[in-house]
Amino acid sequence: MFANYGYKDGSGEFFISVDTGRCAGCPDKGCVEACPEQVLEVITDDYDDQVIAVREEHRKKIKYSCAPCKPTGGTKEIPCVAACRLGGLRHSW
């Protein structure tokens, strides 16, 4: 399953996409620890898979929650995406 967390508003589109098929097979879920803002968590989804998700309280403000990892000056690697060895995590912006 592709789970897209985030939103689109007048200022743009801000989604974190999780490929739960890949994510479910990942034993360490390093992305959760890699995020300095504790945006991600491990959940058991509706189909009983252990996968990561964007925490409820961040879903409506990820543009702001993720801002520290996206300075205007540089395009440094996003920690959560870099930590995912299976290529199961993506940011839309």
Binding site: D9, G10, S11, K60, Y64, A67
Partner: protein, 258 residues
């Protein structure tokens, strides 16, 4: 040399007329639905107040969301450019400028000459601009200008969940129903919008001194929330809404001087 800056904002149109680095006059009108007419009116009034004839003005620069509507301008200047120029003129130590208007929020990093190093803009979403406070004032049934002073009377931290001005209105209404005071709600509203502006500002990197411009600079509740959030003093000019128009007039003088 006489120059002028015209800032056609989403809500108000501001004009500043300058002569040799001195402000001669300022004028502000509602932008309304005919921005061209608003610009014309504000300019005519400002010139009359300054006692200056049109042909005496060497250069007029337009800025703001509706800058294209200023038919009498010689040229335009970007909003961030005008902002930085005006802010550093008023506060030479200013390196970070936060401009919050009715429909836009901007964070600008600049050097000692007011040249832009970096900037970030939040536009087209009311949650990150002055319109947010305005909508909440309506929901609270409090005049907009009382929102700031009300917030100063509270020290409670009440998080707001809604990130959209429309949804936040309902949240404010339910807070009223659960008997949260207007003071506490007003503070929550300012904390919410300030936190959004702060995370935008952190993307450009906040350096001392911090200058706040734009109409929302008049809102003491917002300025306090901004300062506390960034743990930094906030410098606010006496008439923050004129800073962009001032910057445009200054830039006009530079261009005319060649």
């Amino acid at each position: 040399m006489i120059t002028a800056g015209v800032d056609v904002g989403n809500k108000y149109t501001k004009v500043v007329v300058m002569k040799d680095g001195q402000v001669l006059s300022k004028y502000m009108v509602l932008s309304g639905f005919d921005q061209q007419q608003a610009a014309e009116e504000a300019y005519t009034r400002a010139l009359a107040e300054a006692g200056v004839a049109r042909e005496e003005v060497r250069c007029v620069l337009a800025t703001g969301a509706g800058k294209g509507a200023v038919t009498f301008a010689n040229d335009t200047i970007t909003e961030v450019g005008a902002d930085a120029k005006g802010a550093v003129f008023l506060f030479p130590s200013g390196r970070t400028i936060i401009d919050v208007g009715a429909e836009e929020g901007r964070a600008i990093k600049c050097d000692e000459k007011g040249r832009i190093v970096d900037f970030a803009i939040n536009e087209k979403c009311a949650a990150g601009a002055g319109s947010f406070t305005e909508a909440m004032a309506r929901a609270l049934e409090v005049p907009l200008e009382e929102m700031g002073p009300l917030a100063l009377q509270s020290s409670k931290v009440i998080p707001m969940n809604a990130q959209c001005a429309v949804f936040a209105e309902s949240e404010v209404v339910s807070l009223i129903h659960s008997r949260v005071t207007k003071e506490d709600i007003s503070k929550a509203v300012h904390d919410a919008i300030a936190s959004r502006i702060i995370s935008m500002a952190r993307r450009v990197g906040v350096e001392k001194d911090l200058v706040m411009t734009g109409g929302v600079g008049r809102n003491v509740g917002f300025v306090k929330a901004l300062g506390e959030g960034l743990e930094m003093a906030v410098l606010v000019p006496g008439e923050p809404e004129y800073v962009s128009a001032l910057g445009a007039a200054l830039a006009a003088a530079e261009r005319a001087a060649g």
